[in-house]
Symmetry: C2
Amino acid sequence: MTVSSFNNKEVDHKKTIIIKDAMILTMDRDFSYFEKGSLVIKGNIIVAVGELSEDELSVYKDARIIDGNGKLVMPGLINTHTHVPMTIFRGYADDLPLHEWLYEYIFPIESKFITAENVRIGTKLAVAEMLRSGTTTFNDMYYYVDEIAAIADAAGMRAVLSEGVIDFPAPNSPSPKAGLQLSEDLLKRWAGHPRISIAIAVHAPYSSSAKNIVAAKALAKKYNAHFHMHVAETRKEYDESLAKTGFTPVAYLDNLGVLDEKMIIAHGVHLSAEDIDILTQRGVSVAHNPECNMKLASGVAPVPELLKAGIKVGIGTDGVASNNNLDLFEAMNTAAILHKLNSNDPTVLDAQTVVEIATIGGARLLGMENEIGSLEPGKKADVIILDMLQPHAHPVYNIYSLLVYSLRGSDVETVIIDGKIAMENRKFTHLDEDGIYAKVEQIAIQIREKSIEMAEIIGRKIKD
Amino acid sequence: MTVSSFNNKEVDHKKTIIIKDAMILTMDRDFSYFEKGSLVIKGNIIVAVGELSEDELSVYKDARIIDGNGKLVMPGLINTHTHVPMTIFRGYADDLPLHEWLYEYIFPIESKFITAENVRIGTKLAVAEMLRSGTTTFNDMYYYVDEIAAIADAAGMRAVLSEGVIDFPAPNSPSPKAGLQLSEDLLKRWAGHPRISIAIAVHAPYSSSAKNIVAAKALAKKYNAHFHMHVAETRKEYDESLAKTGFTPVAYLDNLGVLDEKMIIAHGVHLSAEDIDILTQRGVSVAHNPECNMKLASGVAPVPELLKAGIKVGIGTDGVASNNNLDLFEAMNTAAILHKLNSNDPTVLDAQTVVEIATIGGARLLGMENEIGSLEPGKKADVIILDMLQPHAHPVYNIYSLLVYSLRGSDVETVIIDGKIAMENRKFTHLDEDGIYAKVEQIAIQIREKSIEMAEIIGRKIKD
């Protein structure tokens, strides 16, 4: 795997795509929405959007025309926290307490089954699932990142990827130090790629020593890379941090000097008012994962308060082992209704705000707001097209309401990333899915067998 | 509209359908699941299910064979609380407090736009949406029930329908008394229909007088019909009931003598321990609507406690104006994760329990557990077939987990109700959708115009 594998040399930068006569939701600063508009893409860049006349469109010669009648065109969704290869664990261990789930099921099985080959298979399944449900960019933390990068690149996706560093042997590195070396190798190898960028990740404040967290941050700074970490996910983590360090997880990290505008914390469920102040002052971003926080009974992140404080918030699915899918439409719906319930106020997190979080908000979190997250001339063409000729897509009073409360990931029909069509009419153009389901089921059979064996050793009840 | 319109005379009761080599989830008493099984339907009845040999299948001559490879076959889902014509209000008024939403938006606009024609159009859209997402039976409360019944019947759906009685003029009846007369007419007209049955409905304890509630219950008893009512949906309703009557909504209804095993209460969010005792003793059922309860910030129904008490619980979407769709897969997912969060216990409402509630549980609530809700020989053939050759449907460790946490309504490909194919490969066989989207959008334009006019009159801020 080297830079020479970039497949965007296939992009013809003179090629023009025009999507005509579509509903177009731009998510630009004015929230411009066109009931019948056009979008023009030249190479990998959006060059025009809006109600364009035939005259205005006629200047674009030899354009590929996509008929937008009955379609909604909008920016691709941005998944700000996930672990994509974990698709192979979808449904492996559900309805369990977080600690038992993580330490008795996920960590042991990861140590046996996270190989380069299984990461490739799991990532392929994940990329297929993300494209199918309208995600164009994802922010990932896992192991064997080179493999993840290669699959995501080949499929035409945009991604920010990081090797998870943790204070026990990881599947592909014997020590945190080796993990950081892997990260640095990745930073060098993928530098300059138009769609794949590398961040630094430490699993969590409680699973890494202060020394390793500080070393990881130093590396991130050296390369001006983002730093991605699970923080304040559970009450247990919060209470234990207080007991052990005398500080909340956020205050502890602040004392280590690692919080700044390149820091992305996943979850941020248990935050004190002081924690929110710290995050605001340091410019830290929060990746909100409403579904897995509910499913694992972790709690509710104070998203309305974070937004009020001006903190950058993105939405995420987390890994499939705890969600159990990569569908951001479902995450948007859940976020919108969860915060209404939790605030006892049905006006909280209105639909427009939720769509903002899932598009331009996610872009801001990743520092990419000048490149992606909205449909504006000069921005990169990360665009999704939804089929609106469906019962649940009518009537259209308010496009944001429709998106958040009624539309589904399965409504996404076509996906364009960096000007290239990655999926058209639900068929992948670059991703080779051949035999992927059979391969995934084969891994599942092995995992089930190993799980029974492990359960017998530790005397654990076997879950059906 | 008379009994002669029943279109099941088209059913050829000798016709046999065999679904072969499918994953089959029966939801029978033993929760039997077959990784590769067959299901045989003769006329409108399931005659065999399980791992059937070619020899066993060969006795069924001239059967239509459906290839089940890569498919999941399961009982059709049962929506135990909805108002289907309200699809025309999808997204009309969101992110508003319940009382303002109901009294300033929904009730006024209903009084102008609920006509027989608009009910037909809204119901057609709803039926299309329900079939597309795997619902085979729905329990509805609305106005112009004859129109709803005719559309549901023609589309081949199973439904329990009731005319909503309320203490102000309804769109199609000037008084509660006239509303009850409509109900009695319906009971007579639709008696004996194989798929459509009629129930009695009163909107809510706070919107009808005690006298009218008691009269409605007497009518229900006369015809041995179910009685459907919104009860204890909001804190406001609960507190006002205590203040006004000295009793909780449930205790108040119990004092009126209307609670028994034919009573279906929708919501049941605010229930005291004594209320749960009353519901248990009287054999009352609860239709749980997790999404609209969250969206309107109404609260969380104590579903784990209801189940523990042995109360029959079904799942519902409520009307589209407050959900905003009729997708029970979404409702299942939301229910499963909501109660984990609310109970601070990720083992609560496990996936199998949720699927049970949405199938055989709903059948029990409607008193139809001997006819539908599971795939067993002798039961009516209400069956859905899901396409599993999709990224988010792999791997399959646990079929319940997959259904609740990952699959979507859009995965439903084929729907069989009462032995007849109502949708095949996502195409409707009986429902004429011609021009339905355009008609719905036309109504929406009129509603938007009227809404602006009304807003000007009452000086209300116009929501975009």
